[in-house]
């Protein structure tokens, strides 16, 4: 890893605490994009702490059902790990030197881990309509797509992704689709195409279920690659408590259905408040767990600053030298919501 610094994560609330001299408890932290109404963790039986997780068949079966992996050898097409992060770290180690296309804006660990493993990384702009088609012309072996893109909110239609997969298959390449934010819109997922050579779908329980702390993620891919990945990750990839909570969450259809409806409502309300405050200055777009406003960089900084003075911390992502994105994690109705609305109304026009 010589010469490469690991990317920083999170919205850096610590920096904000120091800079604005507001103690941690005084902040409304919207810099994360995680379900504000997380899955309620059931009481854990003592046994899950006391024994080695006997086998993760139960979780795997629940995941197969939930993600809709096609039936033939479905259970062999799925690999559990301690968060999709663990899988992102392993994938580059399973290929010989190759050319990898990765979105310039999005989860930074993809590019970092492929670079660490010695691969050549080419970045594309996921905010530009035909950027992927263009980058694919440059002899790419592995294409990483974050769908929907966080923070850009770009969504790729399954038909386009399958077209790119065909191109990559001809070279024995991979299409890695990071679907960390896909749970609220399963119709756009490629999970039901798993088994196709070279297709790898990454999923996580961190965002939609709001269970970032359980560290549970899955790779869905053809069974031969899944076997290699499973061997690489090693035995007992999920802790006993994690496996227990994950199985419950993946099986709770009623909760999932309600969460989808509520997130759609919260995200719409949040986007409308942001549009009313900032719509005149830039473009506001939304995914189910966050709302992003693209603004001229200096205005974005001014808005972030104005909100911070009210004790509200949002994430600022620089798109280029001129433009920046402000990302608001969606929040549920309540005191926090009223506080955001009041602060947004006070943002100078």
């Amino acid at each position: 890893m010589d010469g490469l610094t690991p990317p920083e994560h999170g919205g850096d609330l610590a920096q904000a605490i120091a800079r604005y001299r507001i103690p941690a408890a005084g902040w409304l932290d919207l810099s994360a994009a995680i379900n504000p109404e997380p899955y309620a963790v059931p009481p854990l039986p003592a046994a899950v702490f006391q024994h080695l997780p006997s086998n993760d068949d139960a979780v795997t079966a629940a995941a197969v059902d939930y993600y809709g992996v096609p039936a033939s050898d479905a259970a062999r097409s799925i690999v559990a790990a301690a968060g999709s992060q663990a899988l992102i770290q392993w994938l580059p180690l399973l290929r010989r030197h190759c050319r990898v296309a990765i979105p310039a804006i999005g989860y930074r660990e993809h590019a970092f881990r492929w670079r660490c493993a010695g691969h050549e990384v080419i970045e594309y702009d996921a905010g530009v309509a035909h950027a992927v088609d263009e980058v694919l012309r440059q002899n790419i072996d592995v294409l990483v797509v974050i769908n929907p893109n966080n923070p850009l909110t770009t969504v790729y239609e399954p038909a386009r992704l399958l077209g790119w997969l065909q191109t990559l298959q001809r070279r024995g390449g991979w299409l890695v689709v990071d679907e960390a934010f896909m749970d609220a819109t399963p119709a756009h997922s490629l999970a039901d195409k798993v088994g196709a050579p070279g297709l790898i779908v990454l999923r996580s329980l961190g965002k939609f279920f709001g269970l970032a702390g359980v560290r549970c993620g899955f790779a869905l891919c053809e069974s031969s690659l899944a076997a290699t990945l499973r061997a690489a990750v090693g035995p007992w990839p999920l802790s006993g408590p994690t496996a227990f909570v994950a199985e419950q969450a993946l099986r709770d259809r009623a909760w999932q259905q309600r969460a989808r409806q509520r997130l759609a409502m919260h995200s719409r309300a949040c986007a409308e408040a942001v549009v009313a405050a900032l719509g005149g200055k830039g473009a506001v777009s939304r995914a189910d767990l966050f709302v992003s406003a693209a603004l001229p960089a200096e205005e974005a900084r001014a808005v972030q600053e104005a909100l911070a003075r009210c004790g509200i911390w949002v994430r600022l992502i620089e798109l280029d030298l001129q433009r920046a994105l402000l990302r608001f994690g969606v929040l549920a109705p309540g005191d926090a919501w009223l506080r955001l609305q009041a602060a947004l109304e006070r943002v100078p026009a």
Binding site: V155, E157, A283
Partner: protein
């Protein structure tokens, strides 16, 4: 001045008879020149000033030529001026082509042919159209009619009324350059600034005139209320009043979510009452026509009063 009113009526009739000029459109050559100039100037430092220079290089020659032409024509005979001005204004406006494109969408919707409607609406708006339903297609088309009615018809006529042939030519040229360069992306953020701001300035009054005309020709109180409350939230300072007043005048709801290049953009809601239906495309076109006639009558009144005074 009265000859200019006559020329405008002539231009609207030409537009009605002939539609958009197909074989030889001067805007194509203008667009090529603009592309070439951008490739030479949009590089290095001081992009904002290079953008100002490019705008001046594109507009000043046109201004001189059209002003010279106008003086020459007026010196020969006001009737020559009327004829040539009618042809120039005809080339600069696009009422019928706007209607044809919008009506193609409405026809496909009426035949419940969603794929055809999506393709047809894709020709007039820049958003992603492949996932739109009938409501969203009607909304996108109505938005396009209301906004282009201001940019492509009423604003051009306004500048013709104010400054004659140079006025209408400048407006069309500035509007075209804004459509080519006026983006807030990496490539055009600084270079396109001048074109975008100049277009904003030129359209400031015409957009508000159009909004007033929509209000008078439709549900007036709703239009004015929507304009006052909603327009400032819209990302473009001129499209805001036009579309808010237009949607209010038609009592339909426009704006809201739309997808551009895969990103779901949330725009302010404009208008009131109910969701748009396919019939609202026709209603928007009729509203635009009434607004055009109203503006013409207003102009004719001003001319007559001028004479009497």
């Amino acid at each position: 001045m009265s000859y200019a009113v006559l020329a405008t009526v002539g231009a609207l009739l030409f537009d009605r008879w002939w539609g958009e000029p197909h074989r030889w459109h001067p805007l194509i050559g203008f667009g090529r020149a603009a592309d070439w100039l951008e490739s030479r100037l949009n590089r290095g430092n001081q992009r904002r000033w290079r953008g100002v220079l490019a705008l001046a290089l594109m507009l000043l020659p046109l201004l001189l030529i059209s002003a010279g032409l106008q003086m020459l024509l007026l010196a020969i005979s006001p009737w020559w001026f009327t004829l040539v001005a009618a042809l120039v204004v005809y080339v600069c406006i696009g009422r019928r082509s706007l209607g044809e494109h919008a009506r193609a969408v409405a026809l496909a919707l009426r035949a419940v042919d969603l794929p055809a409607a999506r393709n047809a609406v894709g020709r007039i708006v820049s958003r992603d159209t492949q996932a739109l339903d009938a409501r969203a297609i009607s909304a996108a088309t109505a938005e396009s009619v209301l906004e282009n009615g201001s940019d492509a018809v009423i604003a051009s006529l306004f500048w013709f009324a104010v400054a004659g042939i140079p006025g209408v030519v400048m407006h069309r040229a500035a509007n075209t350059l804004d459509a080519m360069w006026g983006y807030r992306n990496t490539r055009f953020f600084y270079f396109g600034w001048a074109a975008a701001r100049f277009d904003d300035v030129l359209n400031y009054l015409p957009a508000r005139l159009t909004a007033c005309a929509y209000a008078v020709c439709g549900h007036c109180a709703d239009a004015l209320r929507c304009w006052a409350r909603q327009a400032r939230h819209w990302s473009s300072p001129n499209a805001g009043p036009v579309m808010a007043a237009g949607a209010g005048a038609l009592r339909i709801r426009l704006g809201g979510d739309a997808s551009y290049g895969g990103a779901r953009e949330t725009r302010p809601v404009l208008g009131c009452d109910r969701e748009p239906r396919p019939q609202d495309v026709e209603r928007a076109l009729r509203l635009l026509d009434r607004a055009i006639v109203l503006c013409l009558l207003l102009w004719a009144c001003v001319v007559v009063m001028w004479r009497l005074l």
